[in-house]
Symmetry: C2
Subunit: 199 residues, 2 copies
C-alpha cells in the first residue's frame, strides 16, 4: 500500500524481476536510472532491444551469435576435430578467456533434469549428434559443471556418442589453482590424487 | 580480450554501469534479459523510457511526479501547516510507508556538501523558502539522514527558516525499534537517554 508513483513503481518492478535483485536494490537501480540523462537511459533501453533483436543461435554450435554461423565456427584456424560441450554461453566465454582452447564448441542451453522436466529434446542434443555424422570430429570434451545434472548429462551424451566412433573425454577434476588443500572437500581431493601426473 | 559478441557485450556494459552491479552480475543479468521473451524485454525497455519521459518534479514539493502538482501536494486531506524535509524521493516513500504522517513534504534532492561542490543552489532550498512565505506553514521537520552532511544541511536550513517565524524540529534520535542495546553505538545511546520520555 502507501503512496505510489506509477511510472516509478513499474520500473522498480521490472528491476525486482531480475535474478538476485531484491526490492531495495530494485528501488536504488530505478532511481539511478532516473538520474541518468535522457540519452543515457535511451542507450540502456536500446541495448536491451538490440541484444534481443540481433542475437540468435549459431546454426552449428548453437552459441549466441549475430550471424547465421558464429565467428568461432567460421574461423578456419580452429581445430575442427575437437568439440567442447558446455551448458551455456557463459561457460563458452569462460573457456575463450583462457585463450588456450583452439577447438570448436557446442552449447547445450541447459542440462538434463528429469525433475524439472528437461529432457534431451529441450537441449541441443540432436544438433550435436548431427555434427558428428561426417567423421571429421575425433574428440568431444564434456565440459559440463561438476554437479549431479552436469555429470548425468555428460554420461548420457557419452553413451550416445561413443558408438559413433568418437572419443569422449571429461574435464580433469582436481584442486583449483591457487586454492588451499585445507579447504578442498574430500571428493575433490580424492579425484586430484587419482588424476595425479608425473612432474 | 578474447571472443566478443558485440550486442551482448554492450548489454553487459550497460548493466555493469549500474551502482552495485559488478562484471559477473552484469553478465548474469544480460543473459537473463536474453532469456526473456521479446515482449518481456520490450516491457523492460519501455519501463525505463516511460519513467524518464513521464516523471518530472512536482512544482510544489519537488518530489518526482507524473503531474504538475503531485497527489500528496494536491491532497486536501493533508495537514498543510507541516512540511517534512527529506533528502530524496526514497526517503519520502519510506515515510509514506509508515502510513502515519499526514503533513506535506519537501524534497531537497541532495544534501549540502562543500567538498563535492554542492551548495544551496544545487538543492531545492529556494523552493522551500518560497513555500514558507505566506504564513500557512507552522512547522518544518528536518528529516535528513543523521550523517555529517544531513546534520549540516538541517542546521543550515534551520538558521534560514527560524527568522521567518516557523518552528523547526528534528527527527528523534534513539535506539531503533527491535534493535539490541548491546550493539547500539555510544552517541545513539546517549541521545536515546537524553530524549527519554515518561511511560
Amino acid at each position: 500500500m502507501g503512496y505510489r508513483i506509477d511510472a516509478l513503481a513499474r520500473l522498480v518492478e521490472q528491476f525486482a524481476s531480475l535474478p538476485g535483485i531484491g526490492k531495495k536494490s530494485a528501488q536504488r537501480l530505478a532511481f539511478h536510472m532516473l538520474s541518468l540523462t535522457r540519452e543515457q537511459a535511451q542507450q540502456f533501453a536500446e541495448a536491451i532491444l538490440e541484444a534481443h533483436q540481433k542475437l540468435k543461435r549459431c546454426t552449428v554450435c548453437q552459441n549466441l551469435s549475430e550471424e547465421e554461423i558464429c565467428p568461432i565456427c567460421s574461423d578456419e584456424g580452429r581445430d575442427r576435430s575437437l568439440i567442447c560441450v558446455v551448458e551455456d554461453p557463459k561457460d563458452l566465454l569462460a573457456f575463450e578467456r583462457t585463450g588456450e582452447y583452439r577447438g570448436l564448441y557446442h552449447v547445450l542451453h541447459g542440462l538434463l533434469s528429469p525433475m524439472a522436466g528437461i529432457g534431451p529434446d529441450q537441449l541441443t542434443v540432436k544438433e550435436l549428434l548431427k555434427r558428428l555424422g561426417d567423421g571429421s570430429v575425433k574428440e568431444v570434451v564434456m565440459a559440463t559443471n561438476p554437479t549431479v545434472e552436469g555429470e548425468a548429462t555428460a554420461m548420457y551424451l557419452a553413451r550416445l556418442i561413443k558408438p559413433m566412433g568418437v572419443r569422449v573425454t571429461r574435464l580433469a577434476y582436481g584442486i583449483p589453482v591457487g586454492g588451499n588443500l585445507e579447504y578442498a572437500d574430500e571428493v575433490t581431493l580424492y579425484r586430484a590424487l587419482e588424476g595425479r601426473s608425473e612432474i
